[in-house]
Each structure stands twice: as structure tokens, then as C-alpha cells.
């Protein structure tokens, strides 16, 4: 974003803003696309905003490898620790409210007040999900009263590497609403942000990188949803895919591809109100239930 503040003293020339080079976020680092490609991102009126990296299938492969590498440590961290880190993300976002508000204004073409409300809702959404880390097990798991001398306990565990196609319209609140529930339970994510509104997501990676979130837990690939969705849906080392950002036709193709290794699939809803109470609907699809039996006797 370039803002040219008004000159304050005398007739000094207006200051030229410093533009940001938006980059991908893979394995905790900020690379350019290996393909060397970028695409133009414009605001709602068609004005040029920035270039975003146009990720390739190789970038997607690298992102999956980074997500897999991060999975052991992240899923093995205590739920308390994950909650602390997600809450830290919210703290960092709070300090960048103005930046994200400006990015949402540019991306979604809404008035500043409305954008600010969406950013605030997104930060609160992070806080909401942060709190789930050490509670979901008591809501989704529990002791099973089996008819025999066995101790029997079911606990939810993270599915693994999740590809997330973020919603196309809601560039920040929608993005947060699909990303946070995936990672809070211990999954790692390969995130494809809104194709035409990727900048808030790319800026979010800067926040993630400074919030003690281990590198590789979230990987962000800007680019064409269909170009990236296809290799991700077919990738044998991806365990689940959230198709929220895919249109009906693409979603069907990707779901067919996902069947090859029986990925868990979250289908896109016909219309989603991102301001509504999210409930547990985005937490549970990316959890497996593990049940442990142990004999009881002396």
C-alpha cells in the first residue's frame, strides 16, 4: 500500500511511498515463486495495487513438503502451547489493524468503517479459535462405557496436512475463518488465498512469522485457485482439503482427485456468512478420533 502523506513543512515535495514486494510464505521463509512468475493485483476499481507471486505446482509441492515436516512438532506440541501461539497471533494482528483495514478496503472495495469491523471480527475469530486448542478434546472425545473390563477412551487427533482453498470474496475474515480451525488442533496447512484478493493473506504470513508459529505450519501460495488446487487435491501426502474457495465445478473435480488417497473433504457451502458464530463445524472435519482400549485387572 502506498500512502502519500501531505507535505507538512513548507513546500517540500510530497514523499514517495515505499512499495512492498509481496512474497510467498513456505516453511517459515518468504521466497518468490520458483517459476519466477507474478500476476497483477488490482483494487475493486481496477487500479494496480501490487504484484503477487503466481505460484506453480512446484511451489505447491514445496509447500506440502514444508507442511509435512512441520506436522510432527506442531501436532506434538501441547494444546496449551498451541493456544498460546494462536493467541499471540491475535495480539500481533491487533497492532496491525490499520494496515489490514487498508488492505481490506483495497481488496473488497468497502468503506473503511465496514472494513475495520471485518478486521476486528477476524482478530476476535483468532482469539475464539485459540481458545479451542485445549477444549476440543473434552467436547469431541471422552470415556466410553464399554461392556467389559476395559478402559476405553476416545480422543481427537489432527488429520495431518490440510490444503485450504480460502474463500474468494472475504479476503481476510473469511481467510482467518478457514485457516485458524485447521491449525489450532495441530494440523498444518497449505493455504491458497483468494485469487484476486491475495494481499491480506500475504500480509498475514508476516504476522504468523513473528508470532512463534513454527515455520511450515502455515504455507501461503498466491496464484490461480484452479492451477494450485489440482496438484494439491491429487497430492498423496495431503490428508485433507477444504474446498471453500472453489466454485462448484472445480470443487467436484478436486473432490474426485481427492478420492485417490481418501482425503477428508470439506465441500464449499452455497453461501457462507463469515460474520456468524462459526461453531465447531470447521474444527471437526480435520480431526480423527483415536480410541484406546486397555484391560483392567490386577
Amino acid at each position: 500500500m502506498s500512502d502519500t502523506p501531505k507535505a507538512t513543512a513548507g513546500r517540500a515535495a510530497p514523499r514517495l511511498g515505499v512499495l512492498k514486494t509481496y512474497k510467498l510464505y513456505i516453511g517459515g521463509k518468504f521466497p518468490r515463486s520458483e517459476s519466477g512468475r507474478v500476476y497483477e493485483v488490482t483494487d475493486s476499481k481496477g487500479n494496480w495495487l501490487a504484484h503477487a507471486p503466481l505460484s506453480s505446482r512446484k511451489d505447491a509441492r514445496d509447500a506440502v513438503a514444508a507442511a509435512r515436516k512441520a506436522f510432527g512438532g506442531w501436532s506434538g506440541a501441547t494444546a496449551y502451547n498451541r493456544g498460546q501461539i494462536l493467541y499471540r497471533v491475535a495480539e500481533m494482528l491487533e497492532g496491525r489493524r490499520d494496515q489490514f483495514t487498508a488492505e481490506v478496503v483495497a481488496a473488497e472495495g468497502v468503506a473503511r468503517g465496514k472494513a475495520a469491523a471485518r478486521v476486528d471480527a477476524a482478530i476476535d475469530r483468532w482469539v475464539w479459535y485459540a481458545g479451542w486448542s485445549d477444549k476440543i478434546a473434552q467436547v469431541a472425545g471422552g470415556a466410553n462405557p464399554v461392556a467389559g473390563p476395559y478402559f476405553n477412551l476416545s480422543s481427537p487427533e489432527p488429520t495431518g496436512v490440510v490444503a485450504v482453498l480460502a474463500p474468494q470474496e472475504s479476503s481476510f475474515l473469511g481467510l482467518v475463518s478457514v485457516l485458524a480451525p485447521v491449525i489450532v488442533t495441530g494440523n498444518t496447512a497449505v493455504l491458497v488465498p483468494s485469487e484476486e484478493r491475495p494481499l491480506p493473506a500475504l500480509s498475514l504470513s508476516e504476522v504468523l512469522a513473528t508470532s512463534d508459529l513454527p515455520g511450515g505450519v502455515v504455507n501461503v501460495l498466491s496464484g490461480r485457485t484452479s492451477e494450485l488446487g489440482t496438484p494439491l487435491a491429487a497430492h498423496q501426502d495431503v490428508n485433507a482439503i477444504d474446498l471453500t474457495g472453489a466454485g462448484p465445478e472445480l470443487a467436484r473435480d478436486l473432490e474426485i482427485a481427492a478420492a485417490d488417497n481418501l482425503k477428508r473433504v470439506l465441500r464449499p457451502a452455497p453461501s457462507e456468512d463469515w460474520a456468524a458464530d462459526p461453531g465447531t463445524g470447521r474444527l471437526l472435519p480435520f480431526l480423527e478420533t483415536k480410541t484406546v482400549w486397555h484391560p483392567v485387572g490386577t
Binding site: 496449551y80 481458545g131 486448542s133 467436547v139 461453531g279 465447531t280 486397555h294 483392567v296
Partner: protein, 497 residues
């Protein structure tokens, strides 16, 4: 078989049994007191501000390790209690009407400020309570922050907690807490109460009021609306006035079983909901296939953590006869390494007894133990000349008939009993009116689970002891009280369900 000794560089070659040139004596390593600034006097915290007692009465709080007066604290009268309850009532509607997400953010702020001020609060708690800085720094404070963090996250998720689609708060909670974990018990009470939309009036223990008053300052720093948290300091009469107040909807008490029964009678016939965390006489059961070295650590942690002034202490060691000698030898050897003394020294393992009154009770019960024929043993240790101290003590040859096997001592005193079979262990462990905690030590998983199934206690620790976590419900059976604190279950005590 003996081996020759390697020659030491320039040395004469010590043989087994000869010690080093000098003993490895740890130099004093005191934690600085400078981090905490204790005012000469404190008022009550009512409706968001500190104020004197209506009749101007005060009492002193001393450091049990040195008997030094730390500060003067206001003694709340019945009138002050009424003012505090009114403040909590006035604040309630707005607090309960806040969206859960907003209440959550206040609690997250409190959690973060506790984390930021952890070292200061640890030193304060050590000064006021007498427990070692090692415990306040490594156990109490991390748990306190975690507790607020955990319940912060529940505030906006109550419809998912299994208590119906829109569970409502009770209203004003009267909370009375003990002196053994002053700030941790405050966290256990206040965090779930606030998360669920209640407002509180809390009375800390007479001998340890300071950390609750510092917590009042944390509420101020977090911008908590006035009247949501009120702290009234005082002794028994203040607590009695609080639980008897007609306008409280909820009473939560942690303390002795005798007082708990008194409170239960007080609230009888009223609308007040009650939860009680009371005394215990926890059995720590060691089988012959136990991991011995870790069992010894568990026994030590079970009865000497916080000087045994813990409701869930493993105060009865039930050891299988076949390993009795081996285990007791190892235990005594280990107790000889315990370091007793200045609680602010970072190397101190066992601190002071919290008050002269408590010391007298421990002394009286241990005399009874000797008089009734149990065998008393303590490691050689020098106790400080000022303050309230009691050496770690082990009684062997204890039977179920001894007072020290039945009554809660609440001090660093272990009673050792033996058993022959698992059934006998269960029978002895359960042979008590209490039922708070139990420990089981064996390498056989199925036996652990069978014992856990048969023991009548709210918390069973297997191959560990005295472990706590905000996600894990804690509370007793029988005369150890009712209701649970911690975890999803801990919400129920503060919801109208």
C-alpha cells in the same frame, strides 16, 4: 569384588568410601525481594477501588519464615461484605450481558498480565505463604496463568460445553479460599466464575491476603469493569458473613472439612449453589513391581510438596510388604537430600509452615503418633531459629487405628502402612471418610486401571503424583467435598444448569 582405583591427577587415589577433598556445598542463592513492592497497608478492593474497613479495623500479615510483618490489611466487617456483595450485584447484569468473546478478552488480558508479573508474584507468594520460590516460580505461577488462559477460551464457547444451547450464569459468587495456594486457589475460583458471566466477592485466607490484593491491581490493569471482582480480606467471621449473605447466588469454598460442613449447614434451605473442596487423606500405593526410583520421587512430591500443606497430599504411604524395606531405605536416603530453610533461596526444597497455629496442629498430631506407638524418623536437618518450621517426618509401623492414619495432618508428615494384596490395598485406601486423591505405582497397566476403578477418590495419579492442569477436573468424593474445578466440568459450578 573390589577394583583398583584410577589414580587422580596429582592425587593419591581415593578409594571407595573416602569422600572428595571438599563437600559440594551450595552457596546461598536468594531470589531478590526487590522485584516486589509491598505497601505498608492495604484496603479492601470493592467496586474497583481500595477502601478501608467500615470500622477501620486492620490485621497484620507476617512472613512465616521469619515472622517479619509484611503489611497491615483491612479486616472486612459484615457491613463491608454487604457493600462488596452489592457492588458485585450491581456489576452483574452488564457483565453477564457482554458477549462471551468480550469477557474472554478480559480474561486473556489477566492471563497475560499474570505471565508478565509472574516473578514478582512468585516472590510475593513465597514471602506471604512461606513456600519455596522453586514452587511458586515453577508450579504455582505457571498454573495460575494457564488457568486464566484456559477459562478465557471457554467464555465464548459455553453453548458447546454440553450444558445446553445457552447456559446462564448464577449471579454473584461468594468465594472463600485457603492459605496453602493463595493465588492458585483464587485462579481456580475466579477464572471459571468470570468466564461464565458471574461476578465475585472473594475472601482470601487470613494469613495470606497479599497476592489476592495484587490480583486486584491486575484486574485494574486489565481494565476489568468495576465490581466484577471484589476482594474482602479478613478472618473466619468475614468468611461467615460472606457465605451467609442473602444476596449471593453461589458459594464456593476450599478449606477444611469442618468449615465445609458449617457452610453446608449455612446455605441449607437457600437458593445458593454450593461447591466444596475440602480435606483429604490421600493413599499413595506402591506395589512391588513399581519403578522404585520414580516412586520415591512421587512419595516425596506427594507429601513434602508445599510442606504437605496440600489437601490432596499423599499422606498415607501404602507399601506392599515385599518391598517395604527397600522402599523405606531409598526414601530415607532421598529425604536426607531435602534442603529446608529460607524459602527465597532458589535451592530450598521445603519451606516454612504457614502459621503458628498450623505448626501447633502438626506438632500435636505427631505427638499422638508417637504416643500411640508409631515409629518416628526425620532426616538430620537444621531448622531456622525464627519462623514456623517442622522437619520432614516419616512414621512407620502405622496402622489404620492410629490418629495419624485417619486425621488430616496438613504438614510434612508421612504415615507408612503396609499391605499384601491389591484387594487389601484398596480396602485400606478406601477406609477413610475422605476421598480426594490416591496414587498407584506399578509397571502393570491393567493393575493401574483396576486400582483406579476401585479407589474412591476424585483424582487418581498413576506412576505420578500431585499433577495439576487447568483442563483436568479436580475434586473429591465423600467428605472431601463436591463439585469439580478445572476442565469442562469446572464450568458447571458456575452455570444455572
Amino acid at each position: 569384588m573390589t577394583r583398583e582405583t584410577p589414580q587422580v591427577t596429582g592425587g593419591t587415589g581415593a578409594a571407595a568410601g573416602t569422600g572428595p577433598a571438599k563437600a559440594f556445598a551450595y552457596a546461598p542463592a536468594p531470589e531478590s525481594r526487590a522485584i516486589v513492592d509491598i505497601a505498608p497497608s492495604y484496603g479492601l478492593f470493592v467496586d474497583g477501588e481500595f477502601r478501608d474497613a467500615s470500622d477501620g479495623k486492620v490485621f497484620k500479615t507476617v512472613s512465616p519464615a521469619s515472622e517479619e510483618v509484611l503489611s497491615e490489611v483491612a479486616q472486612a466487617s459484615a457491613e463491608d461484605v454487604d457493600t462488596a456483595v452489592r457492588a458485585a450485584r450491581a456489576a452483574h447484569a452488564e457483565w453477564a450481558a457482554l458477549p462471551g468473546a468480550e469477557r474472554a478478552k478480559y480474561l486473556f488480558r489477566i492471563a497475560r498480565i499474570v505471565q508478565e508479573r509472574a516473578r514478582e508474584l512468585a516472590v510475593l507468594e513465597t514471602l506471604d505463604n512461606g513456600k519455596p520460590i522453586r514452587e511458586t516460580r515453577d508450579a504455582d505461577l505457571p498454573l495460575i496463568a494457564a488457568h486464566f488462559f484456559y477459562y478465557a477460551g471457554w467464555a465464548d464457547k459455553l453453548p458447546h460445553a454440553g450444558f445446553g444451547p445457552d447456559p446462564r450464569p448464577l449471579g454473584v459468587a461468594a468465594q472463600v479460599i485457603p492459605w496453602n495456594f493463595p493465588l492458585l486457589m483464587l485462579a481456580w475460583k475466579i477464572a471459571p466464575a468470570l468466564a461464565t458471566g458471574n461476578t465475585v466477592v472473594l475472601k482470601p485466607a487470613e494469613t495470606t491476603p497479599l497476592s489476592a490484593l495484587f490480583f486486584a491491581d491486575i484486574c485494574r490493569q486489565a481494565g476489568l469493569p468495576r465490581g466484577v471482582v471484589n476482594i474482602v480480606t479478613g478472618a473466619g467471621p468475614t468468611g461467615a458473613a460472606l457465605v451467609a449473605h442473602p444476596d449471593v447466588d453461589k458459594v464456593a469454598f476450599t478449606g477444611s472439612t469442618a468449615v465445609g460442613k458449617e457452610i453446608a449447614r449455612t446455605v441449607a434451605g437457600t437458593r445458593k449453589r454450593l461447591t466444596l473442596e475440602l480435606g483429604g487423606k490421600g493413599a499413595n500405593i506402591v506395589f512391588d513391581d513399581a519403578p522404585i526410583d520414580q516412586a520415591v520421587e512421587g512419595i516425596v512430591n506427594g507429601i513434602y510438596f508445599n510442606g504437605g500443606q496440600v489437601c490432596c497430599a499423599g499422606s498415607r504411604l501404602l507399601v506392599q510388604e515385599s518391598v517395604q524395606d527397600e522402599l523405606l531405605d531409598a526414601l530415607k536416603r532421598r529425604l536426607a537430600t531435602l534442603r529446608i530453610g529460607d524459602p527465597l533461596d532458589k535451592n530450598t526444597d521445603v519451606g516454612a509452615i504457614n502459621s503458628a497455629e498450623q505448626l501447633a496442629r502438626i506438632t500435636e498430631l505427631t505427638r499422638a503418633g508417637e504416643a500411640e506407638g508409631a515409629e518416628r524418623w526425620s532426616p538430620a536437618c537444621e531448622l531456622p531459629s525464627t519462623g514456623y518450621w517442622f522437619a520432614p517426618t516419616v512414621f512407620t509401623n502405622v496402622t489404620q487405628a492410629h490418629r495419624i492414619a485417619r486425621e488430616e495432618i496438613f504438614g510434612p508428615v508421612l504415615s507408612v502402612l503396609t499391605f499384601r494384596t491389591p484387594d487389601e490395598a484398596v480396602a485400606k485406601a478406601n477406609n477413610t471418610p475422605y476421598g480426594l486423591s490416591a496414587g498407584v505405582w506399578t509397571e502393570k497397566g491393567s493393575r493401574i486401571l483396576k486400582m483406579a476403578q476401585q479407589l474412591r477418590a476424585g483424582v487418581i495419579w498413576s506412576n505420578t503424583f500431585n499433577k495439576f492442569d487447568p483442563t483436568s477436573p479436580f475434586g473429591g468424593y465423600q467428605e472431601s467435598g463436591f463439585g469439580r474445578e478445572g476442565g469442562r466440568h469446572g464450568l458447571e459450578a458456575y452455570l444455572d444448569v
